[in-house]
């Protein structure tokens, strides 16, 4: 399956393009798995932007198909489907 991951704000400076396509190999591919794959691709600099003390940073928002992960029952263990879209954003103020 192919998952589109977009990083918004200063996070985007860590990527080589405006979004990444992450491929999952099995039916048990989770949001955590997609994050792990992204970090493996970009290494510690990105990991430090996304995690603090082993936990996803509280000042970031992660949306899966437009829903905040905090509102989902399985959170980072939510199973992904082909063409799902993950957005990780720093603080935005609206406008």
């Amino acid at each position: 399956m192919k998952i589109k991951m977009t990083l918004i704000g200063s996070l985007n400076q860590r990527l080589q393009s405006s979004y990444e396509i992450i491929e999952g190999n099995d039916d048990n591919f989770t949001i955590q798995g997609a994050l792990d794959e992204l970090i493996e691709r970009y290494g510690n600099p990105l990991a430090e932007e996304l995690f603090k003390d082993g936990k996803f940073r509280k000042d970031l928002s992660l949306l899966i198909n437009g829903r905040n992960i905090l509102g989902l029952p399985k959170k980072f263990q939510t199973l992904l489907e082909d063409e799902d879209e993950i957005i990780i954003s720093t603080y935005i103020a609206g406008g």
């Binding site: 977009t6 918004i8 704000g9 200063s10 405006s18 928002s61 949306l63 198909n65 437009g66 829903r67 905040n68 905090l70 509102g71 879209e85 957005i87 954003s89 720093t90 603080y91 935005i92 103020a93 609206g94 406008g95």
Partner: protein, 605 residues
Amino acid sequence: MLFGYKGKLLHVDLSHKTSKSLTIPEEILNKYIGGRGLGAKLYWDLMPSDVSPLGQNNIIMVLTGPLSGTIAPGAGKHLIVTKSPASGGWLESYSSGRVASELKFAGYDGLIITGKAKYPLSVFINDDNVDFLDSRHLWGKGAFETETYIRENFEPECGSLSIGPAGENLLPFACIGSDFFRKAGRGGAGSVMGSKNLKTIAIKRSGGISCSDIQTLNDFILNRKKMTRHRFMTPMTLSITNAAGMLPTRNFSKGKFNKAIGAIDKDAVINATIGSRACYGCFTGCSNITKVKDGIFKDLILEGPEYETLAMLGANLEVDYLPAIMKANYLCDDLGMDTISAGVVIGFAMECYERGLLSKDQTGGIDLRFGNYKAVLELLPLMAHKEGFGAFCALGVRDMAKELGQNSEEFAMHSKGLEIPAYDPRAGWGSAITYSVTPRGACHRRAWPPSVEILGGVNPFTVEGKAPIVSRLMNERCLLHTLIICDMLGPRLFGSMDELANFLNIVIGSNHTGKDLNDRTEIIETLIRRINIREGFSINDDILPKRILEESLQNGPGAGKIIGEENFLKMRAEYYINRGWNNKGIPTQEILNKYEYDLEPKITI
């Protein structure tokens, strides 16, 4: 007198071309602080009853906060308070530039303008000198040419407020411009100036302002230097709202605009960006300067477009060509029109056209199909000048629907006559409360529920608990707007009201706590509610269009979900109770006694 205040207002009477200084009682400054709070008190005390928004007895105020003019980050903003041509009630409209600091340096916490000039003029304030200059030669000119003239003939670095043709022609969504591209956009304040034959206000100063503890303030700023790399570019918001199904598309009939991706989103704006700009005294240059690099609008340069403009003149009209949105933005800024309302008005007209409620004869030959950006660019100047079909659009969406009939009011997207901004409440129900109860009409700045419903873990599609959340968010914004701190940067700088209180104490030498500032926000919200009740508003005005309450979105997380009138009424009722109002939204005698309005000194002019 505490640091940060001058303790004086300047009253300018346009009818008699006179001016005088008024003292603000310290007791009032202590209770209402400044900005929005002071504006509420002044409106309550000074605004005559039964005033027409465009009549000469309307009052227009330009107000500062206790931090204006200092090096406090995010304090480079001013507030306009008047009676709204859009709603007929309370209007507060914020913008940025040098106005607040120059006004403070000139020796005033605010400006109160009454009367009507006999012919178009400008008011130049140079410390204690107030000049009234014939400006008939500027009448009809765009806001950019007007402001250029002021800077070349008065003072290059003055604070200035100008209107364009839309304000002269009294559109309900005419705005007041400052620093060229900054606008007090919503609610028609530009038309209040236009109705008074007031083309421009310019302020130049020789004074200054002191802080209580400049060293601690300096340290505060230096310790947050790394925040300068966090530019709160509002175009980023489009990616979020589009994903969340919250992006108004096709006159709010949809919540996602797939063509926006890469075409009118943050990536497209970044590609067009040639620089950035900060507000006066702020360390985050979050505004983009953009340039069209090729095509028919090649070499067009402007500040923007911001999220609301991308959404309402882009997605809402199904326009996916960024240079056209930039051109529309530029036109609105020069003509002096609010881009949000302009986008909602045109979106409504487009839907009417596609439904067959408006013919091509009626539109003067303009092909108003969604996506036709050329029609948008042709229509905007016609609206500002009330020419041809533009005269109908210049009514604003509420009155367009009244005139057109045929059930078009069901998709006329406004509340209290103010067009709905770019967060569809059907993708986050908290905004249904916000848009219906905020005093100036549908407003996204008095509270921003997407911060918790989309960016946080609060379920967007529930009723329970939404009213207390919205009340809390409104109080936080009320405090920022009373202090006049940017509500984009403010939440990032200050994690709580206690932190805000500490910061205020550093600057002005006060002894505030988070709790007492929160208490003041409740007092201010209820006073503004009383203002609107006095202006004739009732529970029947705290409503939303049928499209929002009874139609579902077609795509996104909100697809198939309907808010419903019952849920809406429940959330609204709970909001009233939270405020200490009765079930009709009227402040109770108990809450009036608690807030001691009758014991305050009355301000008079």
